[in-house]
């Protein structure tokens, strides 16, 4: 069986030079430490989780290109390219489009004015897409997901600006488990989660764990990789036969992202 493929982009130009979410504070990043933390994630994915990493080159002036999760929503050979809400990130779009074209994907772009932030706001669980909207992504983009992939989409309003993408408040796992932070959703969203996912597969996290980006986890087969500090969650996952790797991602948290934001499953 071929290895899972993960798209990453080296943090050569990573910094915080603007603030487009509540976590970002300009100039706060220790660049050398960020390089080491990104390398540790790369190694965990390739050496411990057994995946192959594809690299998209860094680009000067695009510090958030490192967060490849937002580049596109990928399903089979289709890549729906992000159309970022903030002008600061819109410069990433042509680079992402080029990468997917050159790598043989069927590239789909959004109509002008319809914002969509890739797998940051659209995650597949058991044949359906849990997709966030309001903070960054326009709910109308969810129709494009279904039109292009035939996957049903469950649209979830994100109500807390700190959890601005759905991949910082849910994480679908192998064997149909589902990590989520209930505080990121309204009563409708919670009802949707409870109606679609069996109770014994739901793994809620606390506000403190969510604030440490516990939901922003990378899951490759039975390995789950997330930022350090959520020992309770690590035990819950270990009890369910997951291999947990906790890494220090402090410099990327200063930009509002962690392990999942730095990766995109492309095959």
């Amino acid at each position: 069986m071929s290895k899972p493929q993960i798209l990453m982009s080296p943090p050569d130009t990573f910094t915080v030079s603007y603030a487009i979410n509540p976590w970002m504070k300009e100039g706060a990043v220790n660049w050398d430490l960020a390089q080491r933390q990104w390398e540790s994630l790369y190694k965990a994915i390739t050496e411990q989780a057994g995946a192959e990493v594809k690299l998209m080159p860094a680009v000067e002036g695009l510090p958030d290109l490192v967060f490849t999760a937002n580049a596109a929503f990928v399903y089979q050979d289709t890549a729906i390219i992000a159309h970022y809400k903030h002008v600061e990130r819109q410069g990433e779009e042509p680079h992402c489009q080029t990468w997917f074209k050159e790598n043989g994907y069927r590239v789909v772009t959004l109509p002008q004015g319809i914002y969509f932030e890739g797998a940051g706001d659209a995650l597949i669980w058991n044949g359906r897409v849990f997709a966030g909207y309001k903070t960054r992504t326009d709910i109308l983009s969810h129709q494009v997901i279904t039109q292009e992939t035939s996957l049903p989409v469950l649209s979830m309003e994100l109500i807390d600006p700190r959890f601005y993408h759905i991949d910082v408040c849910i994480c679908p796992l192998d064997r149909d488990y589902f990590i989520y932070y209930p505080g990121a959703f309204d009563e409708y969203g919670l009802r949707v989660i409870e109606a679609n996912i069996p109770q014994n597969r739901l793994i809620p996290v606390t506000a403190e764990e969510a604030g440490l980006f516990a939901c922003n986890a990378v899951n490759i087969n039975d390995t789950v990789i997330f930022n350090k500090g959520s020992d309770r969650l690590a035990k819950v996952l270990s009890d369910r036969r997951f291999k947990v790797i906790q890494l220090d991602m402090s410099e990327f948290l200063k930009s509002g992202g962690s392990t999942k934001c730095l990766t995109l499953r492309v095959a």
């Binding site: 709910i139 109308l140 969810h142 129709q143 279904t146 996957l151 049903p152 649209s155 949707v192 679609n196």
Partner: protein, 167 residues
């Protein structure tokens, strides 16, 4: 019969499983705006979209309506764009242009040159004839149309008025 709605909105997608339609209805209700669901089509398969069209009767405060429409837009509900009905001349007495709109029973209005026109008379399987000079529309049996009369074709610019039992 109720007055024509001043705003008609529509939304589609997985609006039932996502509870988006429920959210839209609750939002309209909480804003105190009278409404009616004119059309609800439920997708049959998992990947099929559902569709809802809802008429609103806001109380006349434009800023409150703007606020409500902005809120509904977040949930993907957008005003239905109103366009003029398409008219074509009858080629001969008793003959219709292609794709003429054949009216069934419910009351109807036509949008033409910026206004909704009510339709005189009712009748099943009639066509809509528009007098473009007097801005009047009426339902006419197919066999009685005259050569050169302007008949509505297609469904653009046509709306069916709701009839409410309690009004």
């Amino acid at each position: 019969m109720r007055q024509p709605a001043s705003v008609i909105i529509e939304l589609s997608g997985h609006i039932i499983d996502s509870l988006t339609l429920a959210k839209v209805i609750d939002t309209i209700h909480e804003a105190g705006c009278p409404y009616q669901i004119d059309d609800l089509q439920v997708g049959e398969k998992k990947h099929d979209f559902s569709y809802a069209q809802i008429s609103l009767w806001p109380d006349g405060d434009p800023s409150a309506l703007d606020h409500l429409l902005a809120e509904l837009r977040v949930y993907g509900a957008t005003p239905v764009l109103t366009q003029d009905a398409t008219l074509m001349a009858c080629p001969a007495d008793g003959q219709l242009p292609p794709n003429a709109y054949i009216r069934k029973n419910p009351p109807t209005e036509i949008y033409y040159q910026g206004d909704w026109m009510s339709v005189k008379r009712e009748g099943q399987d009639h066509v809509l004839v528009v007098n473009t000079e007097t801005h009047q529309a009426e339902l006419v049996p197919v066999k009685t149309v005259k050569r050169g009369q302007q008949v509505v074709v297609g469904t653009r610019g046509i709306r069916i008025l709701p009839t409410l039992d309690n009004e």
